[in-house]
Amino acid sequence: MNRTKIMIVDDDPELRMALKLRLRANHYDTVSACDGYSAIALAQKEHPNLILLDLGLPAGDGYVVLKRLRDSDTLSDIPVIVLTARDPQANEDRSLEAGAAAFFQKPADNHELLEVIQATLRNASTAASSLPS
């Protein structure tokens, strides 16, 4: 059986590594990208089940990535959870409007983050299976 694959997009290599360790410990496969441009390329190649997205990124910030994903024929179904150091007051609603499923400010509580990842994955799979293909 295929394991669930999560793509981590963050420009901080140490944080990418920490998230990878955390997610792997919870039985997820991970791939990671360090900027907006490679995030889209990697998403097309790997087609992850979920994307953890930072907003402050080089080569196309998180909003650009969200828009590209939503506009894409093949990637628009992938749920995105925003995980950013930016201010929620200015960014939470904007992220949700841009199509993110949830918003977390760094540093996020790991248990809460993992719960929301699980719920989002569950929602995405039920929505996909009930849609006429």
Binding site: E14, L19, A25, A85, Q89, P107, R122, N123
Partner: protein, 532 residues
């Protein structure tokens, strides 16, 4: 002064005085252009066309008297320097005007051209100085806000890294940890969380100072929030062996507030109370309807701690204030918590205060507005003090297959609203919060003042658009329906208040019918106020 004539607006009703001032002005070395009015209203009206360099103002005019005169001018032209022409007998009043922002005064009868010229020149200079000070103050504040916002973002990034790696170690994901190491890691995590809270408070306080805090008020069950806050603080209380109890009035009505912010206020006050209460003491959180004003609920946090000194009480909600006599033997924090709580309560339209005796504990109390549908509907369904001709209640029912994750409901609502606004011409609209009762969050109600006929035509389009919206489906919304609900005509003999109340009742009734639910409390009549 430059060679350009100084444009003087003279507001003086006594022709003799006016002529004399005009003469003195002409005698001076500076070229002047004088516009003279004998009524305040005419003088003020002339300001709209062109702002003069200076206003010479008599206080007693046919249409305005005394302090009222300079207040009106200050309000209308805050940037124009004003020099008052006062009589011998009202010099005290003129001095009062100077305290309130007028630049100078001259006593009529004593005016020489030299006097007048000098007073005018200085008034103009001072006003320009004040203005540039004000502008630079605003620039500095803006700069400070941007700086703090940037700094807090930059601080968060390494903090996140520390948090992630320490929690990896703490959870044993990087190999086994001895109990002692586990303790140390727990201390690091606690400090990281404190640092995180401080960064958050810093940004929040800056925002409060700049008036940039946003609150999203909705219909909320206050009791649930109190319970939640107490549960969240229970561990901290137990650790300090402080009792933490809750006392709820069973007839507590729903309130109109931002639940996240109210929780923030409560956590802040309870955290403080625990911090300043010695072991074996107690903290009690209570809520009831405010006796003095039924439009508000009253919440209090009482502790049996060290109390607050009388000198500290008036200062305790000030930014960065810390009572030097209140030592908790621990880290003190930034002194921003109560300031933020004060700002948040004020934004809700409530007030916050403290009563305390040193050595005998303290009680922090605040008020929050009761949820009133009639009050919320007022701006939507009335125009120029009368009820609008037509309005509709639109219901969008979203049926998610599973419990949507945090934040998702909001996103779905926003998407629905955007679609609705594209489809119907909505004059003004009010989104009724999903009643603040979890489990009923799959319904969106919009009251809009719009043309009924138009709504009927558009409704098919809305339904089509909502149902074909793949984003909504992906978000978990499977069945989307929208239906207009006509509200009954209202008797014209009723007062506006009664009419609005009747519409509010009808809206409530429709929502209850639609939801098939009994537990939507209509606060306005306190019908179901003793909801569980």
């Amino acid at each position: 002064m430059s060679d350009q004539p100084t444009h003087v607006l003279l507001i003086e009703d006594n022709p003799g005085d006016a002529d004399l001032v005009r003469l003195r002005l002409v005698e001076g070395k500076t070229p002047v252009q004088v516009d003279c009015f004998n009524r305040l209203a005419d003088g003020l009206a002339s300001l709209t066309a062109e702002a003069p360099s200076l206003i010479l103002l008599d206080l007693n005019l046919p249409d305005s008297h005394g302090s009222e005169t300079f207040r009106k001018v200050l309000e209308k032209a805050p940037d124009v320097p004003i020099v008052i022409l006062s009589g011998q007998e009202d010099e005290a009043l003129a001095l009062k005007a100077v305290h309130q922002g007028v630049q100078d005064y001259l006593v009529k009868g004593d005016i020489t051209s030299k006097h007048l010229e000098r007073a005018m020149r200085y008034a103009v200079e001072r006003q320009a100085l004040l203005r540039s000070l004000e502008i630079s103050r605003k620039q500095q504040l803006e700069f400070k806000n941007q700086f703090l916002s940037h700094v807090s973002h930059e601080l968060r990034t390494p903090l996140t890294c520390i948090h992630q790696y320490v929690s990896l170690l703490y959870d044993g994901l990087a190999g086994p940890v001895t109990p002692e190491q586990h303790d140390h890691l727990s201390t690091i995590l606690k400090s990281v969380n404190q640092l995180h809270a401080m960064i958050r408070d810093l940004l929040e306080a800056t925002r409060a100072e700049a008036g940039k805090i946003r609150i999203e008020q909705r219909c909320v069950a206050l009791g649930d929030l109190l319970q939640q806050a107490v549960v969240m603080m229970q561990a901290a209380a137990q650790q300090k062996r402080v009792g933490l109890e809750i006392g709820l009035d069973r007839r507590l009505p729903l309130i109109y507030a931002d639940p996240d912010r109210v929780l923030e206020i409560l956590l802040n006050l309870i955290d403080n109370a625990i911090k300043f209460t010695p072991p074996e003491g107690s903290v009690v959180v209570k809520a009831c309807l405010a006796d003095a004003d039924p439009a508000f609920v009253y919440v209090s946090v009482t502790d049996t701690g060290s109390g607050i000194s009388p000198e500290a009480i008036p200062l305790i909600f000030e930014r960065l204030y810390q009572d030097p006599n209140r030592v908790d033997g621990n880290r003190t924090g930034l002194g921003l918590g109560l300031y933020i709580a004060h700002e948040l309560v004020t934004l809700h339209g409530g007030r916050i205060w403290v009563s305390s005796q040193p050595g005998d504990g303290s009680t922090f109390s605040f008020t929050l507005p009761v949820y009133s549908l009639a009050k919320l509907l007022l701006p939507v369904i009335t125009q120029q003090e009368r009820l609008r001709d037509s309005f509709v209640l639109v219901r969008v029912a979203l049926t998610p297959l599973t419990q949507p994750p945090r934040g998702n409901w909001k996103a779905i609502c926003q998407q629905c609203l955007q679609l609705l606004r594209r489809c119907v011409y909505v004059d003004k609209d009010l989104v009724l919060p999903p009643m603040g009762i979890s489990g009923s969050e799959e319904n969106l109600f919009v009251v809009a003042s719009t043309d009924m006929a138009r709504v009927n035509i558009m409704m098919t389009r809305i339904r089509g658009q909502l149902e074909s919206c793949t984003e909504l489906k992906a978000a978990g919304a499977l069945r989307v329906t929208a239906e207009p609900l006509e509200l009954p005509p209202v008797a014209a003999t009723d007062s506006l208040e009664q009419q609005v109340q009747r519409v509010a009742d009808r809206v409530t009734e429709s929502i209850m019918h639609n939801l098939g639910c009994k537990n939507f409390a209509a606060n306005d009549n306190h019908k179901n106020a003793d909801r569980e």
